[in-house]
Amino acid sequence: MEYLYHILIIISIYSILALSLNLVVGYTGLPLFAHSAFYGVGAYTLALLAVQLNMSFWLAIILAALVTGCIAFLMSLLMSRFRDDLYFLVSAAINVVILHIFTNWQSLTRGPLGIPGIPRPDIFGISFSSNIMFLVLCLILLGLVYLGCRYITRSSFGRALLAIREDEGALRVFGYQTHRYKLLVCVISAMLAGIAGGLFASYITFIDPTSFTLIESTFIISIIILGGLASLRGSIAGAVALILLPEILRFVGFPTDVAAQMRQVVYGLLLVLFMMYRPSGLFGSYKL
């Protein structure tokens, strides 16, 4: 059962990441390629606060979200000058810069050595150190994030995000200061990603820069494309699919000497086939 709890914990964390990214990419149409940076900032913030200041998990995760939100705010001010391909590239470049900060600001982050000994949460005498309890915590936070995203997408704000995606120029004519909307949705998205990062740090109890590379950003984008852009259910479904599928393939009997490679091939083929027959994803109706 530990293995099952582990998978479900990872699914929960990536669901939060996917939900938050979908707000920006799926609902607002901004090609953001920096989500692993926000994830990492949240993780490092919680790790530093918990390990160096002995701060409680709950306060640390709130601060992790706030710090991530502040960084996203500054990033968005810079990125607001760009659109489409350039926006994508600039966000990727910022992702790389932040990753380099994790790796090279050694006096703060310990660089490649990472930060070990991150404690699991404890509140009012209830310990979340076991995987089952940590899973409960993840599911609660996932539930809250889902409800929050649902609220946002069903509000007038959410409607405006969709209109920005469709035609920002046309929306501005109707009195919308669209750059403020884009700024706020990026900040909200980043804060949620920071929460996911804090959860990840607390679960693995160790973080280092290798968990927050561009490959991770690519993986999170893949989740929302597979699950469906502008779909909250799709965000979770995509996380379930992309986390579960490789784990299921561990149980498929390939010859030992090629098993690992065959699993990667099968995984890739299944994704390609799926996107050919359902390009808008599992639950998406919005097409790129």
Partner: protein, 243 residues
């Protein structure tokens, strides 16, 4: 409310798209704007609605508001609204949402805290019924025909309750019944004292609907006056009608 420009200019490199045009669009009138393709009609619309910045000149709204630059996000508060030559509805949103987004609170935190209210839906119903699209309210805008999307744009503009309306080729591609609907809307706006600006190539409609007419050619003002008079001018006939 009057909308005027004074010596407004927009050049694209060597191309003088709008070259020092001064015009007045009066309230309680439908003012037509005609001219050959590339004469600067749509460019002028973009300039006065902030979609494109102008190089020099002034836009005057009402008697007091002189603007040397305009941001498109500000025109609504100035009482201006418009439709586009190339239809720009929000394709992957429903017909109803296309209208609601224009009606609901635009303040950042306001829009986050509040959902749309019943009166927003009532107003949406009113404008959609006017253009005959209420029954399609739950359909995606992308599923509408071209003519229906044009009607949706008109409804969206109406929903703003503006004082100045700019319609850029609203009749192109419409069936006769739809043309009647749109022209009825414009006449109604005119009769309630709104400023209506109409860019159109359909001479029959222009002659029928416009109270006054501007003719542009190569970024400059060629003629102005009542439609019958303007359309009889030899210069206009040569430049625009090819006679």
């Amino acid at each position: 409310m009057k909308l005027s420009t004074q010596y407004i200019k927009k050049h694209f490199g060597g191309v003088r798209a709008v070259n020092g045009i001064s015009v007045d669009f009066m309230p309680g009138q439908i003012t037509g704007v005609i001219g050959p393709n590339g004469s600067g009609k749509t460019t002028l619309m973009h300039l006065v609605t902030g979609v494109m910045p102008f190089d020099s000149g002034v836009v005057i709204i009402g008697d007091d508001t002189r603007l040397e630059k305009i941001d498109s996000a500000d025109i609504r508060d100035l009482g201006i609204t418009r439709t586009f030559q190339n239809v720009r509805v929000f394709e992957q949103m429903t017909v109803l949402d296309n209208i609601l987004v224009v009606l609901t609170n635009r303040g950042l935190l306001d829009s986050l805290i509040t959902k749309h209210q019943q009166y927003h839906e009532d107003k949406a119903q009113e404008v959609l019924e006017l253009v005959g699209l209420w029954s399609k309210r739950d359909h995606l805008a992308s599923s509408l025909s071209y003519g229906q999307r044009k009607l949706l744009e008109v409804a969206r503009a109406l929903a703003t309750d503006a004082t100045i309306y700019l319609f850029d080729e609203p009749f192109a591609g419409l069936f006769p019944e739809m043309i009647q609907t749109v022209s009825d809307v414009m006449v109604s706006l005119r009769n309630t004292g709104k400023t209506v600006i109409l860019i159109e190539h359909n001479m029959f409609l222009i002659r029928k609907m416009s109270d006054m007419l501007y003719v542009f050619d190569a970024g400059e003002l060629l003629a102005f006056g009542e439609p019958d008079y303007v359309l009889s001018l030899p210069g206009v006939r040569e430049a625009y009608l090819g006679e």
